[in-house]
Amino acid sequence: MKPLPAWADLLLLPLLNLALALCVSALVVLAAGQSPVGAMRALLVGSFGSWDSVGYTLFYATDMIFAGLAVAIAFQCGLFNIGVEGQAAIGGLGLALVCLGLDAALPVALLLPLAILGGAAGGALWGAVPGWLQARRGSHIVITTIMFNFIAASLLVYLLVNVLIEPGQMAPETRRFAAALPQLTAFGFPGHSPVNLALILALLAALGVWLLIWRTPWGYGLRVAGANPEAARYAGIDHGRRIILAMAISGALGAGIAVNELLGTHQKLLLNFTGGAGFTGIAVALMGRNHPAGVLAAALLFGALAQGGAELSFEMPEVPRDLVLVVQGLVILFTGALGGLLRAPLARLLAMGR
């Protein structure tokens, strides 16, 4: 079978998959007894209709960028990292411990970077352990990362309920941190929305990932190991070490979700702050073809879906924001597993045209 030309592979196919996912979702909206067109309009208006909306879209997109980068870098090494939720959670723990321990003693300018580092360290640890288990013990990374998600959740619940909870409070949360990342509205961004400096960090992270994977010898070795482990053996590339480091970096990127949510808005550690972003990251990475540029575009899309979905559920109470999960699941299905469905007919169609 003739392979698809690059533009079709990277741009057309993901868009077609998205269109297909939206069509099926439209059917779901119909089944819910509502108008798909109306839903679509509410979605668009809700995500970009006002500066507030745009801000929220970007805020959610920030989570998606970090999650998408995390999953993408793991995929580049041939690994399916389902554990971003857990890595973000432990990242949040690391971040919170730094803040709770040091926020009285340190000035904001020093505290914030340290907190971010603490978060990255936590995430990196929670990613590196499954990575080590895969590289040195042969444990399947998919299963271990799924398990680590649940272990992280249990750990967080225990700590928040019993150890870190603000005394005298009912809700399982810590006290407020003394510092937070400045919101972009403080720099002149119009409207009211929680989009904050973490967005800039996410964009820098995207740049950093691009440079690391496509412009360094280490990244080159990573891509070889992911694409063709036998060629890696031929070239003398240490596959095992790449796996562990890739997973550590992946986990650290996932911790960016904690930076955005905890340092950016909530200013405390609480349960379920990830909101499923770790799984959305899978859809973002698949749509973005595991490349930072694609991840940025796909993250914006899913951020818009998240925000638009929330607005949609206000306007049409019968269609909840969970509809976005349907779109997400379909995107993962079409791009990831049913990819063969569209690829062959598309290739034939394009070949006919020539």
């Binding site: 799924i146 799984f279 859809a283 976005v324 349907v326 299905l333 597993a337 049913l338």
Partner: protein, 325 residues
């Protein structure tokens, strides 16, 4: 003494109830993986089954129609999985995860759209749920001290899905180890080339394994929503599909060890719930419920790491079968 017996009986009975969906889902995963198809979508299929059962039972008033709907819903998702993994040879893990996310969104969306109750289905009256089945002669047997209580409340008095799950264990064992179908299915999971060379269709057997998984997950979902519970609530499966996956791994992909593992998990859960908030005597620390809840996952990781024993999955699971040149 009475209070002690009450506690024991209540914990044991709860164990069986809690373990039932785990057993069903783990057996589902067993059939799929023994055939060579990894299935991480147990959670999603169970959730879809739970919603279909609750919704149908609420509308029709019949719990058995609910069960049928649950099997259809879960089966539809299983068909998608089979299509993606066997026919299109796509990534089995991605397909499973997609089904989980899809089911989560779809059930919540339809629940809110159709029932307008914030994601729940209407609470089911007892007539639309699985009734508890009393032990025959419960009145007389119940008079026997200690043993009578145990027989009546632990052995008897459960709903149909519980007994079905328990009966399925020997049935699965028989099917997989004593029939031609089972021999061929297991061979597909170890060396599909050998099956192909013998002139047997690998694809058909793998489809069968995945569809059986769909059926069993549907029953599991119905058990959660219409036997254990009285209706559907968003994400009510709460990770049970992944605990079932853990049980499958810890149970070495064999029905009886899987049963034992599921019962152990059920027991842990039953104890943990009752111990919540209770202080450990002498330490003054609250009982770490979360530690108990995390135990299945931790044990699985330890086993996978090969520190204690080895987890040997069906050799060909996870790899699409392609006839070699």
């Amino acid at each position: 003494m009475e209070a002690g017996l009450d506690l024991v009986v209540s914990i044991l009975a709860a164990t069986l109830r809690v373990a039932t969906p785990l057993i069903l889902a783990a057996l589902a995963g067993l059939f799929a993986e023994r055939a060579g198809v990894v299935d991480v979508g147990l959670e999603g299929k169970m959730l879809a089954g739970a919603f279909a059962a609750a919704a149908t039972a609420a509308v029709t008033g019949s719990v058995w129609m609910g069960l049928g709907a649950a099997i259809l819903a879960s089966g539809a998702l299983a068909l998608i999985h089979a299509l993606a993994c066997v026919t299109l040879r796509g990534s089995q893990v991605v397909s499973g995860m997609a089904i989980n996310v899809l089911a989560s969104g779809l059930t919540a969306t339809l629940a809110i759209a159709w029932f307008r109750m914030g994601g729940q289905t209407p609470p089911l009256p007892q007539s639309a749920r699985f009734p508890p089945l009393p032990l025959p002669g419960a009145e007389t047997i119940g008079q026997i001290p200690v043993l009578g209580r145990l027989l009546v409340s632990v052995v008897g008095g459960h709903t149909a899905p519980v007994y079905l799950a328990l009966a399925l264990v020997p049935l699965a064992s028989f099917l997989l180890w004593r029939t031609r179908f089972g021999l061929r299915l297991r061979a597909c999971g170890e060396n599909p080339g050998a099956v192909d060379a013998a002139g047997i269709s690998v694809a058909r057997l793998r489809y069968a394994g995945v569809m059986i998984a769909g059926l069993l997950c549907g029953v599991a979902g119905a058990a959660i929503a219409t036997a254990q519970g009285a209706g559907f609530g968003t994400d009510m499966t709460a990770g049970r599909g992944f605990i079932a996956l853990a049980a499958l791994i810890l149970g070495a992909w064999k029905p009886w060890p899987v049963l034992a593992t599921c019962l152990a998990f059920g027991l842990l859960d039953a104890i943990a719930i009752r111990m919540q908030g209770v202080l450990i005597p002498g330490l003054g620390v609250a009982f770490p419920v979360q530690a108990v809840q995390a135990l299945p996952y931790v044990l699985t990781v330890i086993l996978l790491a090969g520190f204690v024993g080895r987890a040997v999955a069906p050799r060909a699971a996870g790899v699409p079968y392609v006839k070699e040149r």
